[in-house]
Symmetry: C2
Subunit: 346 residues, 2 copies
């Protein structure tokens, strides 16, 4: 019989609330014969304040035993900026080699967008997750003086770039439009830019059916608001991917519905699924958070584990729910979760 | 008697066409007693193909003698990516210490925006121009092999950050709303992020009337499309500034109307003014380019040289021209230039 052994990290702020709904929908959608085991981990601000720890080696060993990880959100104003981001989120992405950071953007019918007209938005960003300016390389000299110098080093390897580019080509190949855009800034960041561009062009030869284009990251932000229908699959580096996926989320219904997967394609380590939004401490504990992004992250998780039919049921339930929202009074976090659970079960 | 000794760099593609209109409007707006001298320089793709040169020491010596520089656009598909950007544009910005890259965004009445509703957009981005990931630091080892490693080093100094932050505070202080946002990614790029944040907070103490906020660059892209009215003055690093000013241009009327100044505030070197758009080779030579961004760059140039009344006349002429465009047939580059020249003279 089948089973899913899931690590659950609610985290901080609204993380707790949205993860509860994600699990509710997960339980509702899974067939009877699938045994769902969950173990909750208390990472985040409280653990950090209580113990000074963000993510220990023992934690990593424990997490490693799970089939996948569901994360709510990590981060709190009481913790200095960077401590939990670098000490937990990025540490985990790097330790578990989550090199494919998958972020789909789809504007569903009936969903509000800040863009005028009726833009058609349906693309997926494959963001590199283990290199670039996110490596933590760099440093500071003469800190706090008028002669301080701080550096940040973006590290890019042929190995790291090729595997994520290859993943993106395979995804583009599997989609009806078969289009792939590389986003970088190769006219300024010429060292990294040449590496990315050369590997992109080399791998392209193996995927003759995929139509490719190159775009500078600054120009990409323009196209994302003026011609978002232009995009099908995008592959890009860690930092550019961070920036454009927030913009992509904003134009395709807001970060309330933006899901993401931090994927280790080989399966050597468990992959982690999380909403793109943060912990939103300003609305935490009030039942105001929209759990949809977490529920869609659960769909990505199921798809990754091979439960395609169940993932599709969640996607359909979310589409239906979103299309009926206009004009209705706002619902609480758990009301939205309940509605989605009913739909996926029904 | 007063005089302006201007270096003119039409450059590539539509650069030639838009600069001609910029000069037309400049001549029309200047009072009789101001002597305008211009000298044209042939930098760009043609010079590069003919001589292999992008910008020599002798060129820099010649340019240095001018009061200011007006640039059209540099870049052509026939030149490998990066050669003219690094070898001309960035070389000039660095050589002339253009550390304040000024990019105003104002959505004028009657101008189309991709955003729904009627957003109020009136802010200015102060982008650092001589540091960050733009320094060209970094390199490549094992080029072309499967073991290639390419790095890009973002260099940030207290000296460089403080002067641009100070400039931004002074600009915020001089505006009615007196708001300044620092945009960075200090939770991930912690070395550079701490330097920027600490200096920002330190300088803030000298400007108690200025309301400040900090925002991550990814979140900033969301606010730029959902709440652009939130912004008054933004200060940010070279790369983040590059990215968000293209997005800012897109939402506030398009890059057809986005002007910029590469400013050396001390006046030790001439400042350079240029439209944010590129050379657009696809429409070059057809009279289709909108010269408005160049004309607005001429206004920034005049303001920098102390011709405030003339700069304001150009801004007003552009506002009036833009507000009357809707529903009219498209005009050629020179027709728009003619119309603006008539308005500023009248
Ligand atoms: C919180 C932060 C470390 C993270 C990132 O920059 O990757 C977030 O912005 C995201 O996009 O998941
Ligand atoms: C052409 C390029 C070097 C330049 C930059 O990145 O600064 C351009 O995008 C700009 O914004 O002026």
């Amino acid at each position: 019989s089948r089973s899913i052994n899931l690590a659950v990290i609610p985290g901080d702020g609204i993380g707790q609330e949205v993860v509860a709904e994600g699990l509710k929908v997960l339980s509702a959608v899974l067939p009877q014969d699938v045994k769902l085991e969950t173990k909750e981990y208390d990472f985040g601000a409280r653990r950090y304040h209580a113990t000074g720890e963000t993510l220990t080696d023992a934690d990593l060993d424990a997490l490693k035993k799970h089939d996948a990880i569901l994360l709510g959100a990590i981060g709190d104003p009481s913790v200095p900026s960077g401590v939990l981001e670098r000490g937990f989120l990025l540490k985990l992405r790097f330790a578990f080699d989550h090199h494919v950071n998958l972020r789909p953007s789809k504007l569903l019918p009936g969903v509000a967008t800040p863009l005028a007209g009726e833009p058609q938005i349906d693309f997926v960003v494959v963001r590199e997750g283990t290199e670039g300016p996110y490596t933590g390389n760099g440093g500071t000299i003469r800190k706090g003086t008028e002669h301080e110098v701080a550096t940040e080093v973006s590290v890019n390897t042929a190995f790291g770039v090729e595997r994520v580019v290859r993943d993106a080509f395979a995804r583009a190949q599997a989609r009806p439009r078969k289009k792939l855009a590389l986003i970088h800034k190769n006219n300024v960041l010429t060292f990294a830019g040449h590496l990315w561009t050369n590997i992109f062009n080399k791998v392209a030869e193996e995927f003759p059916e995929v139509t490719t284009e190159y775009m500078h990251v600054d120009a990409a932000t323009i196209y994302l608001v003026t011609q978002p229908e232009r995009f099908d699959v995008i592959v890009t580096d860690n930092l550019f991917g961070d920036i454009i996926t927030d913009l992509a989320a904003a134009v395709s219904g807001g970060i309330g519905v933006a899901a993401s997967g931090n994927i280790n394609p080989s399966g050597e380590f468990p992959s982690m699924f999380e909403p793109v939004h943060g912990s939103a401490p300003d609305i935490a504990g009030q039942g105001k958070a929209d759990p949809t992004a977490t529920v869609l992250s659960v769909a990505l998780l199921l798809r990754h584990l091979g439960y395609e039919a169940e993932a599709a049921r969640i996607d359909e339930a979310v589409s239906a729910d979103l299309s009926e929202r206009t004009g209705k009074p706002a619902r609480s976090t758990s009301e939205i979760g309940d509605a989605l659970a009913v739909r996926v079960a029904g």
